[in-house]
């Protein structure tokens, strides 16, 4: 229950705030889902390096979380989401997405199966009415639990070493598996998941254990250069990994004021999730039709000439016809490429593309037309992310 004076602090602090605030030398904060979150702590390049070289810690608390429980929880999720939740073993996680009846994306997220009848959805946007309405006829209970869980993302090649040193036996944990551990008189769930495309884990516990967990990790992680990272460094890593985010790379259908902004799983490269065999699910009929008729848009990875990030750029065909737009872009330190995620009209994908970039050159923008090549995602996918047992760096 929210107290009556919540409005005095419209941006809440997460349970980790005492630690993130102490470390935030730049005092750089941004709003995320009603929380104050660190954009950067001291140096974005060093923070990104921690993700790719050592061990990084990112405060995940603002991710929206829903608990789904009940004898028909799996059935319900099969109806709600694109993938087959019934096939998800207990102790496993999968990346999934869900659409409205028109087959347009509402959100993507991770689905955790804690028990045969106990799931957790973790996503970017809020969907309680949709989840509740979709539950008509199913014996399930749905609760919004965002504030009941404190979550950290521990990512980087040394993340497994840090966890071992912390006393958690995670050697057998494969990607997309999770395990529970006793910690400080409570429970810590560790899942081998993340948003960086690297070796990494996400740690889930109750808010009262947030600070002990943070302190423990930073104490034992010191030899590996454990480092708090902000959203800017994470954003670089997630672009390198080719991951998308609601309201950054696509507009959720439930929020799209312009009807033509909504996108289907085909159009966002998520059609591989669809289990056509599992029976009916929300959006199935529309998606079947789209599979037959074809889609208008495609989400693609771009490798762009030069080294100027193409943030917000419009995309043109070789002949100068507008073909799409960039949704995320960066110069990628890990791949030494100028990368972008972009929505491009499908019919323009066969020919050459160029992006229109306004490059800031000492207060003055220079307009550049840069050649762009469609390349496969992820842009960065080191073997260490999958190795089990994980490497001992």
């Amino acid at each position: 229950m929210t107290d009556l004076t919540h409005w005095r602090r419209p941006l809440r602090q997460t349970p980790f705030h005492p630690r993130t605030a102490a470390l935030n030398r730049l005092n750089l904060w941004g709003p995320w889902g009603g929380y104050t979150t660190a954009l950067a702590f001291d140096d974005v390049a060093m923070e990104h390096t921690a993700i790719r070289n050592a061990a990084s810690v990112y405060d995940l608390c603002p991710m929206v979380k829903y608990r789904i429980r009940g004898v028909q929880a799996a059935e319900y999720l099969n109806r709600l989401t694109l993938r087959n939740a019934g096939n998800l073993p207990v102790g496993s996680v999968h990346y999934t997405a869900w659409t409205d009846d028109a087959g347009k994306l509402l959100d993507d997220g991770t689905l955790f199966r804690h028990g045969p009848e106990d799931f957790l959805i973790c996503c970017q946007e809020r969907h309680l009415p949709w989840l509740l309405d979709s539950a008509a006829g199913f014996d399930v209970a749905i609760t919004e639990v965002t504030e009941d869980i404190a979550a950290l993302s521990l990512q980087g090649p040394c993340s497994a070493s840090v966890l071992r040193a912390a006393g958690f036996a995670i050697d057998g944990l494969k990607p997309f598996r999770m395990a529970n551990f006793r910690f400080a008189g409570g429970t810590l769930t560790i899942s081998r998941t993340g948003f960086t495309g690297d070796l990494g884990y996400e740690l889930w516990t109750s808010p009262d254990l947030a600070l002990p967990l943070w302190d423990h990790l930073f104490e034992v992680g010191a030899p590996w250069g454990i480092r708090a990272i902000g959203t800017e460094a994470l954003d670089l890593a997630r672009i390198e990994a080719g991951f998308i985010i609601a309201n950054m790379d696509f507009v959720p259908a439930s929020q799209a004021v312009r009807e033509d902004r909504a996108r289907s799983p085909f159009e966002m490269g998520l059609d591989w999730m669809i289990d056509w065999q599992k029976g009916h699910f929300t959006g199935r009929r529309a998606l079947l039709a789209e599979r037959e008729a074809g889609s208008k848009w495609a989400l693609v990875g771009l490798d762009i000439e030069g080294n100027t990030p193409a943030t917000g750029a419009l995309i043109y065909t070789g002949k100068g016809r507008e073909a799409g737009f960039v949704t995320a872009a960066c110069w990628s330190p890990a791949t030494k490429r100028n990368l972008a995620l972009a929505q491009v009209g499908r019919r323009y994908l066969t020919g050459p593309l160029q992006v229109e970039v306004y490059a800031l050159r000492e207060l003055q923008y220079a307009r550049l037309m840069l050649a762009a090549e469609v390349v496969p995602r992820p842009f960065f996918a080191p073997d260490r992310r999958r190795a089990t047992p994980p490497g001992d760096f």
Binding site: M1, T2, L4, T5, H6, W7, P10, L11, R12, P31, G33, G34, A102, R126, H127, L128, P129, L132, E144, S254, Q255, A256, V257, R258, E259
Partner: protein, 538 residues
């Protein structure tokens, strides 16, 4: 002496039209029956040191395109966005509103976690409707029964607007225009207090209850404005709503126009089927090339034009135009800020709109009284204290409180309001506030009470209808005010109408006056260069 344009009434629409015409080079005169100008956008000092917004009290609809065209900021107009607002509930609690998205979500979540997350979809849908309606505000509606080139091109414009929508959206839109706000809100929300808060805009100034079909559109009418691009937001005019008409009068003076206050029109002069001027109540005659009435359509044609000069059909339609009054208002001078014990100290709620009706059922019951020809025993009030933000309206530490009240019928059980009725109405409203703010009545220094009787007598609003005619779908677009005359013209050549009775309707919006001026300028072959088109939404 003769004018190019004579405007009857210095309401904001009359002044907007006058400004555009004067700026296009016409010789313009505005005659106003009251000793002051502004119509329902007026600020008067009725108690020493206290300026009221006597009728309208908040601004959102007034088109920024017009403010810019007429350089109103240069002439002193400032619109102040406000924060906050709350519904006080009978159980001693409240639901507050915040400008901050997350604070608002948490506040909703205190009442219903589900509704907290339903608000985004709700605002998306309202925004969609706004995007559709907005471009039509600053255009003359087409006459679908005629085939003049302009009607055809405007019909084509309407067609393109509709063509851009999916089938689902067209269905949603048609439902929305015709359904009740209660049914509409039920599709999104479950909590009665949240629904009561959101339903307010659907009943303001409206002779409908929240459960009456057609009330949903009225909500949209109140949402399609903005304050500096913040769609649906409302603000105060610094110095009171009269500041808008004061700025307009300065803009008019700068363009060489003239205003004569205290000179009511008795009759429009018609010679040879053309309007050629007016006869004032004092018997003086003013001649003009054209006459433009800012009075509502009933007052204009039933009160100030000889019936013999009008086609019978037209008169019948004008008589049938619905102008049922439904609202009253209290303007209160306060010795000190009221204290609402339910609200946390230092909260922004007092800076916004305060309501004491915590369910749509209570609103509907308040409407039941109106149907019975009584003012509501448990009225809905939209109470605001502009002086929480605007330091110019009262001495420091004192406050002006504006209470807009639903429902008050044009007549009490079929007979005219008496002073005793008015006083009883006042006491009902004050007692309701006192119940939530003990000690409130002791702080009251002066009250101006306005029932439909006062609104009609002073502003000339027939039956006290604040919008110069109800905003129901049968009286909108090409049917406003009557079919065949939505182009600001009348059956009498050179007699035009420009008030809120015309498209797109009431509220301090300025669009009717602007659109009328556009038609007049086109008719006079002067062109509309000084007018910009509607800004897009988002």
């Amino acid at each position: 002496m003769s004018y190019d344009a004579l405007i009857i009434g210095a309401g904001h629409n009359g002044l907007v039209a006058a400004c555009y015409l004067a700026r296009a080079g016409m010789k313009v005169c505005v005659v106003e029956k009251n000793d002051w100008i502004g119509g329902a956008a007026v600020s008067r000092e009725l108690f020493p040191g206290f300026t009221y917004s006597n009728c309208s009290y908040v601004s959102s609809l007034f088109r920024p395109e017009i403010m810019r065209d007429l350089e109103l900021p240069r002439h002193g107009l400032q619109i102040l966005p406000y924060e906050g607002g709350a519904v006080l509930t009978r159980n001693g609690g409240y639901l507050a509103m915040f400008r901050d998205h997350d604070a608002n979500r948490r506040e909703f979540a205190r009442h219903s976690p589900r509704d907290a997350e339903a608000y985004d979809r709700y605002s998306r849908d309202i925004l969609r409707f706004c995007r559709f309606i907005r471009p039509m505000l600053m255009r003359t509606p087409p006459d679908p029964s005629r085939f003049r080139p302009r009607d055809l091109s405007e019909l084509a414009f309407l067609g393109r607007q509709i063509g851009a929508l999916s089938e689902g959206q067209i269905a949603a839109m048609v439902r929305f225009w015709t359904m009740s706000i209660a049914d509409f809100l039920d599709e999104y929300f479950e909590n009665p207090v949240i629904k009561a808060y959101l339903a307010v805009s659907a009943i303001i100034g409206t002779a409908l209850g929240p459960m009456s079909p057609g009330s949903a559109y009225v909500l949209l009418h109140h949402y399609m404005g903005d304050v500096d691009g913040n769609v649906g937001a409302w603000g105060f005019a610094r110095g009171g709503m009269g500041a808008i008409t004061q700025a307009l009068s300065k803009s008019l003076a700068a363009a060489g126009g003239e205003i004569r206050a205290g000179q009511g029109v008795d009759q429009v002069l018609v010679e040879g089927g053309r309007a050629v001027g007016v006869v004032l109540a004092n018997g003086d005659e003013i001649r003009a090339r054209r006459v433009i009435s800012n009075m509502d359509v009933k007052r204009t044609f039933l009160g100030h034009v000889a019936e013999k000069d009008l086609p019978g059909d037209f008169v019948k339609r004008v008589r049938a135009f619905k102008t049922r009054g439904s609202s009253g208002k209290l303007n209160i001078a306060l010795d000190a800020a009221p204290v609402f014990p339910a609200l946390p100290e230092g909260s922004p709620m007092l800076k916004g709109d305060l309501h004491f009706t915590d369910s749509m059922e209570r609103m509907e019951r308040a409407y039941d009284d109106w149907k019975d020809g009584q003012f509501s025993r448990d009225p809905f009030q939209d109470a605001m204290i502009p002086t929480m933000i605007d330091p110019t309206m009262t001495p420091p530490g004192k406050h002006f409180m504006s209470c807009f009240v639903q429902y008050a019928p044009p007549k009490i059980a079929g007979r005219d309001w008496t002073d005793a009725d008015r006083d009883a109405f006042r006491d009902t409203c004050l007692n309701q506030i006192e119940a939530y703010a003990p000690g409130f009545k002791n702080k009251v220094l002066h009250v101006e009470v306005r029932t439909p009787r006062e609104l009609e007598a002073e502003v000339g609003l027939t039956e006290g209808n604040i919008f110069q005619g109800e905003l129901t779908f049968d009286q909108l677009l090409f049917n406003r005010p009557v079919p065949g005359y939505a182009d600001y013209r009348s059956p009498i050549r050179d007699l035009w109408i420009c008030g809120s009775s015309t498209h797109p309707g009431g509220g301090v919006m300025g669009a009717p006056g602007r659109n009328a001026a556009a038609e007049i300028l086109r008719d006079a072959k002067l062109g509309t260069r000084g007018m910009r088109d509607a800004y897009p939404v988002l």
